[in-house]
């Protein structure tokens, strides 16, 4: 078990910077997930920790040792790979014991550890199978057992569930969590699947374009995203973003406005362009909006497409007068007159229906239109807040 510290780690290739000034401090026994879109540098960051890639700049510490230039074998790490990477010419026993045999452990010790690891991942009685004779989930368990027997200080897992089918993925997800609880080892986990990140981690490190965007517990990333990228990446379906201009006493979006006193927040002045962010579950139909303490004024909209998911229904809303469906919606682009709303499955609603919706002001996020940095979470003005719910400004996160 050990801390892992990255100090200004940068990896440049000839033409691109894959990892840009990464600073991380991962605690002993912590489960940290690197999450981000494909090609964001999360795997490269992990490779620098593993020693498979040497960073161009910066230092890496595992425990108290600096390991920046050490080869992988001397770092006290074990890794589970995305493509599983079992040695095809060795049976399960040889695969699991590979690292121990390289290190000349005694036969009895190897047997003991292999047996123990096989028991943890439930692989009993498969010791002489070849990898090609096993299913995807079994292979993945062998790969995890191979990492377990080494009793490493740090586990690195590079999208270990990516090649499994959906059902098995969910199953292995819970098994990994159980494993972490049992071993209490530092685990660094890479995934592009934000659901995996949310469910498994102690903390999530959101990475984009080689830069660390935010590292925080999953719910903090969800409720208080540090910037527009984190807000859009964490949560499914994604947060709605609408551009707005700050005016005296309110935010003017193209088709609606939200009451807001700019003087209560530092860094926002009338005339500024901001991006207003609101999650689909924080938009309510007028008729179901009872109990929302800080509602916005009514916003007129027309329903476009309904997506019933069984437990909920996603409703695409078009605000404003232009009810023609614009093509950029189909392309998945955020559009200023589009809002995605999430309603109960038993709600009476149809496509092409004129409705009035409200937003929950306590759940609205404001981002700087240029930098994307979060300016404010929750638009309850200090003055107008009658009681309770304290202001949640940026930087208040625990």
């Amino acid at each position: 078990m050990a801390r892992v510290t990255l100090d200004g780690v940068t990896k440049r290739y000839e033409d691109v910077t894959a990892v840009d000034d990464m600073n991380l401090d991962i605690g002993d026994g912590e489960f940290v997930t690197f999450v981000g879109p494909s090609g964001c540098g999360k795997s490269t960051t992990m490779e620098t920790i593993a020693g498979l890639t040497i960073p161009t700049e910066g230092e890496i510490y595992i425990g108290d040792r600096e390991v920046t230039k050490l080869p992988p074998k001397d770092r006290g790490i074990a890794m589970v790979f995305q493509n599983i990477a079992l040695f095809p010419h060795m049976d399960v026993y040889d695969n699991i014991s590979f690292g121990l045999r390289i290190r000349n452990y005694e036969k009895s010790e190897i047997d003991r550890r292999v047996e123990e690891a096989a028991e943890i991942v439930q692989l009993g009685g498969m010791m002489d199978r070849m990898p090609e004779e096993m299913s995807g989930g079994q292979r993945q368990r062998v790969a995890i057992a191979r990492a377990l027997v080494r009793e490493p200080d740090v586990f690195l897992m590079d999208e270990p569930l990516a090649n499994l089918d959906a059902k098995l993925r969910v199953h292995m997800r819970t098994e990994l969590q159980r494993l972490h609880r049992r071993l209490d080892t530092t685990i660094i986990y890479v995934t592009h699947d934000q659901a995996e990140a949310m469910t498994m981690s102690d903390r999530i490190a959101v990475i984009n374009a080689g830069k660390l965007q935010q590292i925080a517990p999953p719910l903090t990333c969800y409720n208080e995203p540090a910037n527009q990228f984190v807000a859009g990446f964490i949560g499914s379906p994604s947060m709605n973003f609408v551009e707005a201009e700050v005016a005296g006493g309110r935010l003017e979006a193209e088709n609606f406005h939200v009451e807001f006193d700019p003087s209560t927040t530092d860094g926002i002045a009338p005339g500024d362009r901001v991006v207003l962010g609101v999650r689909p579950e924080d938009i309510y139909l007028e008729r179901t909006a009872e109990g929302i303490e800080y509602a916005t004024e009514l916003i007129n909209a027309r329903t476009d497409v309904l997506e019933p998911m069984g437990n909920e229904v996603f409703v695409y809303l078009v605000t404003g007068n232009d009810t023609e469906t614009s093509m950029d919606v189909a392309a998945g682009e955020a559009s200023d007159d589009q809002l995605l709303m999430n309603v109960d499955p038993d709600t009476q609603i149809e496509a092409e229906e004129d409705v009035s919706v409200i937003l929950d002001r306590s759940r609205i996020h404001l981002f700087d239109a240029e930098t994307g940095d979060a300016l404010r979470h929750g638009l309850i003005d200090v003055a107008s807040a009658e009681s309770g719910t304290p202001e949640r400004g940026v930087g208040d996160s625990d």
Partner: protein
């Protein structure tokens, strides 16, 4: 050949009842049923290759069985019967010593080529560095030169005495030592082996090497424990091609030793040894040729499965 054409013609005649000529009928029959044309062509070509490759061996065998001095009228049967020649060749000359020499030279060369070409193949196949392709071309360039181009400078070099070699070699020169053959032949067969192994090693997924390194091997350890075992068909192909190539090589084998078995003369010199100044023992030469070929034939039969998969497939699934 003639019989095959006839059978197809009779078949065609049976099928066709109009009064066009036999060749026309055969053609139209072949068009409607192409197998009719392909089958005789297959046998034609197969028989041709079998005759051109195997008949010389048959004839060699007949010449070997024919007693000395009666080498007239040998076509399909030997002129007399003398199987004892296969014993005599070991009595007239220490032919076994020549074979042993060739085996040692071929084995050492193959081992050396495989080790060096594996390292080179790893570098060319798995690492990225500037100037890789020009360097690879340079290596392949060696194999474009005719071996004769290297001979005179090498022969000169190997006949030069180097004091530094005195403790290892009696007179300090490489002439009449196995090194005189191992060194140039390693150089000649190295490019091919590097090329084959580069192709194979480059196809091993990066993840496997990474896994081995994380598990505790060095890069070299990963090469020998994971990459080479997984590239076994490629390594076998490169090894067998080198071994056969060195064993069968003529030019350097003929000129880099003085032909004495104790001076590491290879099997070629053993065969030519039956050709004296006043007398040429054709039957012994033929018998020696057959004996010399046998080990290679056995090697090819044993390794053929690997070689075929090595030459054709090369694809490895993870």
């Amino acid at each position: 050949m003639a019989t095959e054409t006839e059978t197809t013609q009779t078949q065609a005649e049976r099928d066709q009842s109009d009064d066009s000529g036999p060749f026309q009928r055969w053609v139209s029959g072949s068009i409607s049923e192409p197998g009719r044309a392909y089958r005789p062509m297959f046998w034609l070509v197969t028989v041709f290759f079998l005759v051109t490759t195997l008949f010389p061996f048959y004839w060699l065998f007949m010449v070997a069985l024919t007693p000395e001095g009666q080498l007239q009228n040998v076509v399909f049967t030997p002129n007399g019967f003398n199987p004892g020649v296969f014993i005599e060749i070991f009595q007239i000359l220490p032919f076994h010593r020549y074979m042993f020499n060739s085996f040692v030279i071929a084995t050492v060369t193959t081992a050396f080529v495989l080790v060096v070409a594996s390292l080179a193949g790893y570098v060319f196949g798995r690492l990225r560095f500037p100037g890789k392709n020009p360097l690879m071309l340079l290596v392949l360039l060696v194999s474009f030169f005719p071996p004769a181009a290297f001979f005179i400078p090498l022969n000169d070099l190997f006949n030069t005495n180097f004091d530094i070699l005195e403790p290892v070699l009696s007179n300090g020169s490489l002439y009449n030592t196995p090194y005189a053959l191992v060194i140039p032949m390693s150089a000649l067969f190295m490019p091919l082996a590097i090329f084959i192994l580069t192709t194979f090693y480059s196809q091993i997924p990066d993840g496997l090497e990474d896994a081995a390194r994380v598990e505790g091997t060095t890069r070299l350890g990963a090469l020998f424990r994971v990459i080479i075992p997984l590239s076994a068909p490629g390594v076998a192909t490169a090894g067998v091609l080198t071994f056969i190539g060195v064993y069968n090589e003529f030019f350097f084998s003929f000129l880099m030793t003085d032909g004495q078995p104790q001076n590491w003369a290879p099997v070629l010199q053993g065969i030519l040894g039956f050709q004296g100044q006043y007398q040429t023992l054709y039957n012994a030469m033929a018998a020696a040729s057959i004996v010399a070929v046998l080990p290679m034939a056995i090697l090819v039969v044993v390794a053929q499965e690997k070689i075929v998969s090595g030459l054709t497939a090369g694809g490895l699934k993870e």
